[in-house]
């Protein structure tokens, strides 16, 4: 365990998580009861273990460049066995419907919903800041007056000051100023609550996630949204690369499919690299990086590593001719490096620059791009970034 942060979770809850999230991939292995025949087969190198493949289903959506899994059973499998996808209306696992139902129940019972609790907490925080600012201004005015009269001046914020400045630890909400929670009866007539809730949420898989599930472990079928028909691997291969047109600059629309710098390919290489090493890899926009790496999964620990994907063209000519506007292809300015490093060290994540080489068209013939065999020509390597503090490196 990297850090003891997860330790505050109560034991039963942790055990529960260990049980629910025991499997790192949607595939399951069923080991039959040991029999004499089985042990003989095992000795011969033959396996009697059954592979249980869940065969989940999703729809390709070109607009959001993702695959939607709307079937609740499949969503649960994909989330619980390897943390694939994200609820499009939730922070992680799709929970929108449950939250709505709970909110209705809370309202009916005259309690606050969790969203309202959050809103109230933010409101209180605001009030605290306001109170503190007021107290500081008053202390400053007092000091000012003392100075003007030639009396001894106490520092506005020091402990020996005559006023106490509220701190986050000491401040208490004076009075419930707002968001008491709405009255149960009038605002929400009963008949409104009777209206059935439609689950508008789906589990959204990124294209690399979908391709990983589909291509490597064959536990996902992607359907064409127009025909409803399952797409072949070759169709998926083309459709996912084609979906990257939003990256393209307008002038060269639509972009040439046979390019090594297709953003889907570059991202897939990174995604596959970390998945194959056993990491759970999720998007990192909140921390201004491309990906976050979790050792077992987001329910267990904070992410240890923050990944910035840096594509490196083997041949600068390919970059010049590129229809794509790939990010992070040039070395960063120092101010940008400090920015992202600061953001991530504030939340105790180590920043990793993950370099993906983009094969030169002159070295590798582009017709290899017609199949995933092209992946053999990319390479991934990491550079670990950390601030160096000489004063702390003296002994």
């Amino acid at each position: 365990m990297p850090r003891s942060r997860g330790a505050h979770k109560s034991g039963p809850r942790r055990n529960e998580n260990n049980r629910i999230y025991a499997d790192p991939l949607p595939l399951l292995f069923s080991h039959p009861e040991p029999t004499r025949l089985n042990s003989i087969l095992n000795l011969l190198g033959l396996s009697t273990t059954q592979v249980l493949n869940p065969h989940c289903e999703g729809y390709f959506d070109a607009t959001t460049r993702s695959v939607w899994v709307s079937n609740q059973k499949d969503s649960l499998i994909l989330w619980r066995r390897g943390f694939f996808g994200k609820g499009d209306l939730s922070r992680s696992e799709p929970s929108w419907l449950t939250r709505q139902i709970n909110a209705r129940k809370s309202r009916a019972a005259g309690q606050m919903t969790s969203e309202e609790v959050t809103a109230k907490r933010r409101e209180e925080r605001k009030q605290f800041k306001f109170d503190r600012a007021q107290a500081m201004a008053a202390a400053a005015a007092e000091a000012e007056a003392a100075f003007a009269e030639g009396r001894e001046v106490h520092s506005a914020t020091s402990a020996d000051g005559t006023r106490s400045i509220p701190s986050a630890a000491t401040w208490k909400p004076q009075r419930q100023t707002s968001n008491e929670g709405p009255a149960p009866s009038e605002d929400f007539p009963d008949e409104l609550d009777e209206e059935p809730l439609e689950d508008v949420e789906h589990l959204q898989l990124t294209l690399p996630e979908a391709f990983f599930l589909l291509w490597n472990i064959d536990c996902l079928t992607v359907h064409d949204p127009n025909t409803d028909a399952p797409m072949t691997l070759q169709q998926v291969w083309n459709a996912f690369r084609n979906a990257q047109t939003h990256h393209a600059t307008v002038s060269s629309f639509p972009p040439d499919l046979n390019r090594f710098d297709n953003p889907f390919l570059v991202n897939y290489v990174v995604y596959h690299h970390y998945r194959s090493l056993g990491w759970v890899i999720k998007g990192g926009i909140k921390f201004c990086v491309d990906y976050l790496l979790y050792k077992r999964g987001p329910v267990f620990h904070h992410a240890e590593f923050a990944i910035v994907v840096c594509p490196v063209y083997e041949d600068p000519a390919d970059q010049e001719s590129s229809p794509y506007d790939l990010q992070n292809t040039s070395p960063f300015e120092w101010s940008w490096l400090s920015t992202i490093n600061r953001v991530n060290s504030q939340v105790q994540k180590t920043l990793i620059l993950t370099y993906v080489t983009v094969p030169a068209q002159s070295r590798v013939a582009p017709d290899i791009l017609s199949s995933p065999a092209c992946f053999a020509h990319y390479s991934v390597r990491e550079v670990v970034l950390k601030r160096f503090i000489p004063a702390r490196m003296r002994d």
Binding site: L46, S47, F287, T350, P359, E382, L385, K386, M393
Partner: protein
């Protein structure tokens, strides 16, 4: 689990707050530069302690500040200006003397006194012309420009500028030649020589003030003592290495890709009855077929290769104050440092980083974390580079294992397995880059990642 941290206002973590207490302008909390409280500057003798940071206001009140604000500001400013008026000086019994020779960019030390010379200066043979005599080679003590400038500005070296005609006759220093140099003149004339930029000087002085010994990595002249710590490590091909040069380890790792049997439309075949290890670790292992790691060759075209003019050359060797240092025979450095001007040079490219890593030694695995009851601020620091262990058996063993994994019956796991997170966070090789923006220095450590060697599953 990251939910609580996703909001940008999330409370800063304890590690960063301990940073904040670090009484150094390394401080991460924000606007410390130029914002120090000079009124807290220790004045008298004795060992001063950290002056507390002054409490600052949010903003001046209307009209440029209230009476009290202006008063406090005035006090802070005069404390600062008073401190700046101090002149560099030393007792005549402890000051050293040198003559600056612009033609060779060296200061010839004519009188060396004090502890500084145990880590500064080197011996250089020079032809000396004496009147009426033939030329003779004398060994003499010389300073590089950064060494001379540093000693001059702290007032421990009195430097004059070479002149054939001018002689002084100051008591106690009868043979001083030339005109005295001010600190200002030393800045104007010594910087810009022998590859010394202001940025490099600022980094040098910063580290010297912290007690580090700092030497040039690339000897400017053959007589300059060179650490050359890596030559034996990387440049002497062993029998083993020569044997393996035609079969690099990365090829072994990805040999499946090179065989016709690999089906790119179906990389993982689990359905067959013959598949022996039907469990998650084997599945993940079979998924590791994409080339990764720094040993995979980096294909470049002519244009992307690191140019000779790249500023990314290791310039200084750093020795911690606690490392025994002999200036005539320096050992392997604790850190290797590159200095760049942050305004004109972006961070290094992958090609530049690769070139840097190529000349650096592999680090021994990080030491187990020292648990401390109060804080564990050392936990994320890189390991100490113990020079004696660089070529220790562990390093060789891991090399062997990486070259001939099948002989050891292992594919990925090396015997080198301390806390994998520590290894992943420090990297196998490290280079420190100091990026200087008009005098403010940011130090970053770039580590060569090794994720492919330490899978999680």
């Amino acid at each position: 689990m990251d939910d609580s941290l996703e909001q940008p206002g999330a409370a800063p973590d304890p590690i960063e707050s301990s940073d904040r207490l670090d009484a150094d302008e390394e401080n991460s909390s924000g606007d410390e530069d130029g914002g120090l409280d000079w009124t807290k500057l220790p004045t008298g003798a004795g060992r001063p302690v950290i002056p507390k940071r002054g409490e600052k206001d949010f903003e001046p009140s209307a009209g440029g500040g209230s009476g009290l604000q202006l008063h406090v500001l005035d006090r802070a400013r005069s404390a600062m200006f008073d401190a700046l008026k101090a002149t560099p000086s030393a007792s005549s019994k402890s000051i050293s003397y040198a003559i600056w020779h612009p033609g060779i960019s060296r200061a010839h030390v004519t009188l060396a006194r004090g502890v500084h010379f145990s880590s500064v200066g080197h011996s250089a043979p020079r032809i000396v012309w004496k009147e009426g005599e033939a030329s003779k080679i004398h060994k003499r003590l010389e300073l590089l420009p950064e060494e001379a400038l540093y000693l001059v500005e702290r007032g421990t070296l009195f430097c004059t500028k070479e002149s054939s005609t001018l002689k002084s006759n100051v008591p106690g220093s009868e043979d001083i030649e030339g005109a005295p140099m001010s600190v200002q003149q030393a800045f104007a004339e010594m910087i810009g020589t022998e590859d010394l930029s202001l940025e490099k000087y600022q980094v040098f002085a910063y580290l010297k003030r912290l007690g580090f010994s700092v030497t040039r990595t690339e000897p400017p002249t053959p007589c300059y003592p060179s650490a050359r710590p890596y030559a034996t490590h990387n440049r002497m091909p062993s029998v083993l290495q020569r044997l393996c040069s035609w079969f690099p380890s990365w090829m072994h790792r990805f040999r499946r890709l090179l065989t016709a049997s690999f089906n790119w439309w179906s990389p993982l075949r689990l359905s067959g009855r013959l598949y022996h290890d039907k469990d998650y670790p084997s599945v993940f292992k079979s998924l590791r077929f994409l080339p990764s790691g720094h040993t995979v060759p980096l294909h470049t075209t002519q244009k992307t290769q690191v140019e000779a003019s790249s500023p990314y050359k290791i310039f200084f060797n750093l020795y911690k104050p606690s490392t025994p240092f002999r200036k005539s025979a320096p050992g392997p450095p604790d850190f290797s440092l590159v200095v760049v001007n942050a305004r004109t040079t972006p961070m290094p490219s992958l090609y530049e980083l690769t070139a840097l890593f190529d000349v650096l030694p592999e680090l021994p695995p990080p030491q187990p974390r020292q648990r401390r009851s109060t804080s564990n601020k050392t936990s994320t620091e890189p390991p100490k580079i113990a020079p004696s262990t660089v070529s220790a058996p562990t390093a060789q063993q891991s090399l062997m294992c990486r070259l001939f994994p099948w002989a050891f019956g292992i594919e990925q796991a090396s015997p080198w397995r301390p806390n994998p997170f520590m290894v992943l966070k420090s990297g196998k090789k490290q280079v420190v880059v100091a990026a200087v923006d008009a005098g403010s220095i940011s130090f970053f450590r770039f580590g060569q990642g090794a994720f492919e060697e330490l899978p999680m599953a």
